[in-house]
Every structure is written in C-alpha cells, then in structure tokens.
Amino acid sequence: MSPVDPLARPEELLRRVYAYVAYRVHDRNEAEDITGETFVRAVRYRDRYDSRQGEPIAWLLGIARRCIYDASLRPRQVSADSEPAVGGDLEGEVVSRVTLASALTALSPSDRDLIALRYGADLSTREIAGVLEMRPGSVDVALSRARSRLKELLESDLIHEQAPARKIADERL
C-alpha cells in the first residue's frame, strides 16, 4: 500500500483534470460527468497509487483518459441545453470561447489530447511524455504541429462549417 495519498490536494487536481476533460469532450455536462467518474474511481483505488510511478496528476489523468474512452463507447445523449465546456458566462468572451471550442473540436483526437494535456492539465513536456508513453522530443514536435493546426483552424472560415459535423465524430475517439 502506498503511504502517499494521491488526493491530498484535491482542489488543484480537480481544476486540472476538469480542464483536461473539458478540452477533450467540449460539453460541460459530459465533462462534469467524466470528471466526477474519474474522482470516484480515484477515491476507490487511491490505495493502489504508487508514487514511484509518477505524480498524482498523471495518475488521475490516466484514469480520466480511461473514463473518456469508456464514455465514448456509450451512446451519446445530446441534450438541447448542452453548452460548450470551453466557455463561461462573461458576455465579452463568449464569441472567442465558442470559436476556440469549435476549433478544438475540428482537431484530430491526438492533437486535442496533446492540447488538453498541455493547456488543460498544465503538464510539462516530460509529464506528457510519461502519460502518452512518448519521448519528450516527440511530444514537443507533435504539440507544435497541433498548435499550428489549431491556429490554421482559427484563421479559417471553415471552422463554422466543419465543426458541427466533426465534433460528434471526433469525440467518439
């Protein structure tokens, strides 16, 4: 049994895990469901956490990735009142956040995963490499390409045309 409690700082972990999941699924309700399921599993299996295998955030993100995959296997229920997870209530930023959410949706799942790990979970390159089992150099290259594609999507007028169709397909992973 590990003597280290991986959930010793739950507030910070919750923000990082939720941001990662929200960047991945783009639906607030679904992001909350997956994040809640992630922490339920984390509480259940917290005794199995081994600090030698990595930081608690990496352990939690591993659970979150599994939860996202499990959610992708279930039939998706699109509610009428669903709203983008990447967004808030500030009126001045609504347009930009919707645009960013649409651009993220248009990305490939791997690019979106990299963006979510880097800017949602706020992981370092080395931590991302540990989660994705990649070399740090490869992570940097892949992340740079993902940013370039996201930039192209944001500059393009195709975001509005492609996003709704690709969103459903990509979120199924």
Binding site: M1, E11, A19, F39, S96, L154
Partner: protein
C-alpha cells in the same frame, strides 16, 4: 468569427488556450471535493515496526555471537586443560609404570631365575635364557645392557684357556664360584 480571430490573432495561441482554460462550476467542484474528503484517506503502513524488528534482530545476533564466543572460549579452554592433563598424565604415568614394570619384570625374572636355579644349575639356566650354549664358552661379555645386567653379577669364567667376563644372577655367580674352581669375581670390572 473571422473578425474575432482577426482581433486576437496577434495573441500567441498558447495565451489564448490558457486564457480560455475551462474551470469547473462551484457546485460541481464542491460535490467532487466532498466525495474526496469524506472518503477515508489511505493508511500509511507502519514503518515503526521495521526499526523495532531490526533492533530485535541485532540484539539476537549480538547474544548469539556472545554465546558462541563464550562457548568457544570454554571449549578452547577445556581443550587446553585436557591437553595439559593429557601431557601431564603421559609425562608422569609412563615413567612410573615403566620403572615399576622394569622392577617387576626384573624381580619376576629374578624370582623365576632364583626358583629355577634353586633346583637346577643356575649357570646353565642363565646361559640358556640368553640363548647361549650351556658350556659357557660363548662370549657373553658383549651384552652389556645396563638394565639387563642391573641385577646380575659379573663373574670371570675360565673357558678356552682364558677368562671371559660373564654376567649371571647372584645365585648363578655363587654356583659358578662353587662348581668352577677357576672362576673368580672380577676386580674393578676386569678379570
């Protein structure tokens, strides 16, 4: 949309992503945190037992080594004392026994010789015991073992026109002097 992006395209993409980072709702965060905090934290394994077990093992090792050392010392001392006793016994007992044996043997021989010579010719008996002929002509003077002649008496025996120093028992010497008129006792060990 294009107008939004034109407005913000100078911003780095990273800054845009960080600025629009999703944040959980307060209600949702509170519910998740309550689940986490209500759950019992994992119990750290007791590590105090390890030093205790180590101390116990160390103490047992020291005791075992001490016992081994003490027992080894006792064993070595016992072996040493046994060796000394053995040497002392060997040094004392054999000499005493040997001298006794010699005396006993000599006495026995002397007794037997005396008994026999009492009935027979002691000269012949003495010579026959030494493996010589009974005529006394053999040279017996070469056998001058100190132990062997310890209780014998030298006699100058006349044989072949000369005196030969022989050693016989006192009774044999007396018989020699009695039956051989020319025999005599040596003077200063010489005939």
């Amino acid at each position: 949309m294009a107008r939004f992006w034109q407005r913000g395209k100078d911003r780095p993409i990273e800054q845009l992503l960080r600025a629009n980072r999703p944040e959980p709702r307060d209600e949702f965060a509170a519910s998740v945190l309550s689940q986490v905090t209500d759950a019992p934290a994992p119990v750290a394994p007791r590590r105090t037992g390890s030093p205790r077990r180590f101390a116990l093992a160390l103490a047992l090792t020291v005791v075992a080594l001490g016992l081994a050392g003490v027992l080894g010392g006792i064993t070595a001392a016992t072996a040493g004392l046994g060796g000394i006793a053995h040497v002392a016994t060997k040094a004392v007992t054999p000499s005493h026994t040997q001298s006794t044996t010699v005396k006993t043997t000599s006495s026995k021989n002397e007794t037997n010789k005396g008994g026999k010579s009492g009935d027979n010719n002691g000269d012949k008996d003495d010579l026959s015991q030494k493996g010589h002929d009974n005529d006394g002509d053999d040279d017996d003077s070469g056998d001058h073992d100190g132990d062997h002649h310890q209780y014998k008496v030298g006699v100058c025996h006349w044989a072949n026109h000369k005196y030969v120093l022989i050693f016989v028992s006192p009774q044999g010497a007396a018989n020699h002097l009695k039956h051989h008129s020319q025999d005599k006792l040596p003077v200063n060990g010489h005939c």
